[in-house]
């Protein structure tokens, strides 16, 4: 599928969904980050601060430097099996005890994001650093996804080479990796602007895979997730309330359309080399991924222009009828 044609289709998807839902209204009004996070607080006391050397290090650091207390609060929260985005921590030492009062946000549906972008095989779940805000957490997670896509595309290029794919596909995969470096940097910058810190990307070593396995992964990650990522980024490039964000998402949308087109091109090339049984399994995997995407509850963060639940449903339906249902293949 040509990039130009796919871009045109996806723009139509976005425009159609916007028209159906109406464009009026303040994008920051109505639902906000509070709709997807719960604000919580807790007061915790450790009476055995010297029982654990690691905790002792954090206590001593916090005692002499208030800026170091965040790591102490995080550990005490972890020890108390509390998790969330730490927003505030107050520490007091008294009578041999350490008293910590924390305020933190919890996403109602667990970790934010997760449905866009190409992920490499063997991607290890991130060790997240608590973010100061929900937006910071969203951008940090997105930066992590973008960074993981770097390895995904490098891995893809390597495997395409090994499977004798046309040089143009390999080059496009390499180029996509470079795009993702920029995306990761953009998202990291926005994450830090909102008090988030992208986690490091860890990937277990890739194994040699059959062409069918590659095709199945591409169907899920390229034809579905990258395509959905392009749709969402196009939406955000129109709906994000902030000029910097809109510009960032416009750049990302441009690249993601190209990545999605690459996914579809690989799909066409690989399907032509697979036997009938394998072709069916690839198609089934793609359908399953489309369905899984429909079942996911989208995050509601209009402060970054994300589509709401109803809007996401419309976008999904439009994309399905225009693309995933074989409309253009």
């Amino acid at each position: 599928m040509q990039v130009k044609r796919l871009r045109s289709v996806l723009r139509e998807v976005v425009i159609a969904s916007m028209a159906a839902g109406g464009c009026a209204g303040n994008p920051l009004g109505g639902s906000g980050p509070d709709q997807c996070v719960d604000h919580k607080s807790a007061t915790l006391t450790r009476s055995d601060p010297n029982a654990n050397a690691s905790l002792q290090l954090k206590i001593e650091s916090c005692r002499v430097d208030v800026d170091a207390c965040i790591t102490l609060c995080s550990q005490i929260m972890n020890d108390a099996q509390l998790s969330g985005d730490l927003k505030k921590c107050d520490v007091a030492f008294g009578g041999g005890d350490v008293n910590v009062t924390v305020a933190y946000d919890v996403f109602r549906d667990g970790a934010p994001c997760g449905s866009i972008g190409r992920r490499p095989e063997g991607l290890v779940a991130p060790r997240r650093t608590p973010a100061e805000t929900a937006l910071g957490a969203w951008f940090a997670n997105t930066a992590w996804l973008e960074a993981s896509s770097i390895c995904a595309f490098l891995q893809l290029a390597k495997e395409l080479r090994e499977h004798g794919a046309p040089r143009a596909l390999v080059r496009l995969a390499d180029a996509s990796a470079r795009d993702e470096v920029r995306h990761a940097a953009l998202m990291s910058k926005l994450a830090r602007r909102f008090g988030g810190e992208p986690p490091a990307v860890e990937v277990t070593p890739p194994r040699d895979r059959s062409l069918e396995a590659l095709a199945i992964e591409n169907a899920v990650e390229g034809c579905v997730r990258e395509t959905w990522g392009a749709v969402v980024a196009l939406w955000q490039s129109q709906r994000a309330p902030d000029a910097e964000m809109r510009a960032a998402f416009a750049l990302i949308a441009r690249d993601e359309v190209r990545h999605a087109a690459l996914g579809w091109a690989i799909d066409r090339w690989a399907m032509g080399r697979l036997d009938h049984g394998a072709q069916v399994r690839v198609a089934l995997a793609r359908e399953a991924a489309v369905k899984a995407l429909a079942d996911e509850r989208p995050e509601e963060l209009p402060a970054i222009g994300l589509p709401g639940i109803a809007e996401a449903r419309r976008l999904h339906a439009q994309t399905y009828s225009s693309l995933w249902n074989g409309g253009l293949s």
């Binding site: 010297n50 050397a53 290090l57 030492f93 008294g94 390895c151 070593p205 510009a247």
Partner: protein, 583 residues
């Protein structure tokens, strides 16, 4: 105030909040390799560089004993001789101190301005110095029996089957020295190829070629002998990539940065072999070999971890364009006790790791035991930031190892070539910073370089306040002992002469007037301090002078726009070089 006092104070107070202001500077730059386990296996010996003491720790009971050294001695590498004496190189004390097994100091011998590596072999001790001296001492005591003058920046001493090797720190070279004191071979880790990306982080940039680039060996943190007679070096590589000054601009390379960790194996008579690295962290400052020779533990101070790798897994060539490596390590140890600096094995295979801040010792045997050691709690948020690796996989100390420099000249997108500048030597008196003086102060530099370009977290107020005072305590490199004092004196006179004019700009205790000047070297730059200039080749903003003499050559240095030296004879230039090498 020690920990007990703090705890008592806390117990007596009703409620004490954390201190709003950071404490005074603490600690020295991490060098690594500050611990051995004595052959008997019962005790670890720790050279506590941050507290100027040597400590022994009973690895079964945790009982400790210590001996204080002079303030500022900065004990570093240790070696045990055949009689069980422990010898410690004092990095700033300029000496080797020898202790018996009861921790009594039996000798303190001056060796050179900056001792670094030390090894015992038979009756002899060998001490490598950053000034280039390789000093032989009788292990039992007494004056040096031989002083060789090799290249500057010597690091480790390794003896394999009677053959003496020394490494150089920033170039990561391995020199073989024969019995007569001659250097018979000189090898460096191979250059490998990496696939890199244009890493411009801002909109509209980032149209780079993404072509393969060389990853050049540098900064040999630690070198040890393996069981089969080969030598293992933990070092860094600097990627020949273009750096951007935009957010995330030091990123790229499959999620990593322009500096990577590396392992090189040198087998006698063979070319050095770049092993596919299992490491995943900055600052590989120490390495230890298990007693059966099958495992290597590498301390990654920047990541706060120790990775234990089967030696058998180091046989794969490092030909992965993405520095791919996961899965080769057998065990990753993260004790969460701050930055580790040193590791050693006991004879029965337990891995001992030293953490200086608390301070603490972790013994990883069948079970893990953590010993909290006596000593004031060590905390400095500036020091912490300096060694903390960012999302780009590099720390400040990656390019400024031991708070000096990496010897690299980097290519920037907008500025061109820029030689890494040393941060040692009265940094607070040397602002504004960078070659063009565009960083008005250290907090600005920290925000723009650490948080933005390196992709690090936001710098805290405490870190803003602490890094400068911490760095300011680090002296400029000391010159080697003079070879020809008369030449130095003649060179000084020339330097200060009105005719040569060097002292016009390179004036005062720092040898700089802090001005911006165009001296014909390709732009307007800050007059750099010349303190320790002989220890940081190559020189000038583009690194064109690979020797001090090169600066006075026809193609590099600015000619007579940069002082007036074209009239000087070859002998006078040599005198000037001797003087510069002595400051």
């Amino acid at each position: 105030m020690n920990k007990l006092s703090l705890l008592l104070l806390a117990a007596c107070s009703s409620s004490t909040p954390p201190s709003p202001n950071p404490p005074p500077p603490w600690g020295v730059p991490i060098s690594g390799g500050n611990m051995i386990v004595a052959r008997g296996g019962g005790h670890a010996w720790i050279a506590d560089a941050d507290r100027d003491r040597v400590m022994s720790v009973d690895l079964v009971t945790g009982k400790t004993a210590e001996v204080a050294l002079a303030t500022g001695d900065e004990p570093g590498r240790l070696a045990e001789d055949s009689a069980g004496r422990i010898h410690v190189a004092l990095r700033r004390g300029g000496a080797v101190v020898t202790l018996d097994d009861q921790l009594h100091i039996v000798a303190r011998r001056l060796v050179c301005a900056e001792p670094r590596g030390i090894a015992a072999d038979g009756d002899n001790l060998y001490v490598a110095c950053s000034g280039g001296e390789l000093v032989t001492l009788p292990a039992a005591g007494g004056d040096p029996t031989r002083v060789l003058r090799l290249d500057r920046d010597l690091r480790d001493v390794v003896i394999v089957n009677g053959q003496l090797y020394v490494t150089r720190f920033r170039t990561a070279e391995l020199l073989a020295v024969d019995a007569g004191g001659a250097v018979t071979s000189r090898v460096a880790p191979p250059i490998v190829t990496r696939f890199t990306f244009d890493s411009g982080g801002e909109l509209g940039s980032g149209n780079g070629s993404g072509t393969p680039v060389p990853a050049n060996p540098e900064v040999a943190w630690r070198t040890i002998a393996l069981r089969d007679g080969s030598i293992l070096m933990t070092h860094q590589r600097a990627l020949g990539t273009i750096l951007h000054t935009t957010p995330g601009g030091y990123g790229g390379q499959c999620g990593g940065g322009p500096v990577e960790d590396a392992l090189t194996i040198v087998r006698p008579g063979q070319a050095p072999f770049a092993a596919l690295s299992p490491l995943s962290g900055a600052l590989p400052v120490d390495a230890a070999l298990s007693p059966d020779g099958t495992l290597v533990a590498v301390v990654l101070a920047g990541a706060g971890i120790v990775e234990e790798v089967p030696v058998a897994n180091l046989g794969q060539p490092d030909d992965d364009p993405c520095h791919g490596k996961q899965g080769l390590a057998q065990r990753v140890i993260g004790d969460d006790l701050g930055a580790p600096t040193s590791a050693a094995y006991t004879p029965d295979g337990a891995l001992v790791v030293y953490y200086p801040e608390l301070p603490a010792l972790a013994v990883h045997g069948a079970a893990t035991t953590i010993y909290t050691l006596p000593g004031d709690f060590g905390y400095d948020s500036g020091r912490h930031l300096f060694h903390e690796q960012t999302g780009a996989g590099l720390a400040c100390a990656s390019c400024h190892p031991e708070a000096r420099d990496d010897g690299q000249t980097w290519q920037f997108d907008s500025e061109g070539k820029r030689r890494t500048q040393s941060v040692a030597g009265r940094i607070l008196d040397r602002g504004p910073y960078h070659w063009s003086g565009d960083m008005v102060d250290l907090p600005t530099l920290m925000d723009q370089v650490f948080s933005e370009r390196m992709g690090g977290p936001a710098v805290t107020r405490s870190q803003h306040l602490s890094l400068g005072p911490w760095l300011d305590r680090i002296p400029a490199p000391q010159p080697p002992s003079p070879v020809d004092q008369a030449a130095i004196d003649r060179g000084r006179a020339l330097f200060q002469s009105a005719d040569a004019g060097c002292g016009t700009c390179h004036t005062g205790p720092l040898f700089t007037n802090h001005a911006l000047a165009d001296v014909g070297t390709g732009g307007t730059f800050k007059v750099p301090s010349l303190l320790g200039v002989g220890a940081r080749l190559p020189l000038l903003h583009d690194g064109c002078a690979t020797t001090l003499a090169d600066r006075f050559g026809a193609t590099c240095g600015g000619g007579d726009k940069h002082g007036h030296t074209s009239q000087l004879t070859t002998a006078q230039i040599a005198d000037l070089v001797a003087y510069l090498d002595s400051i």
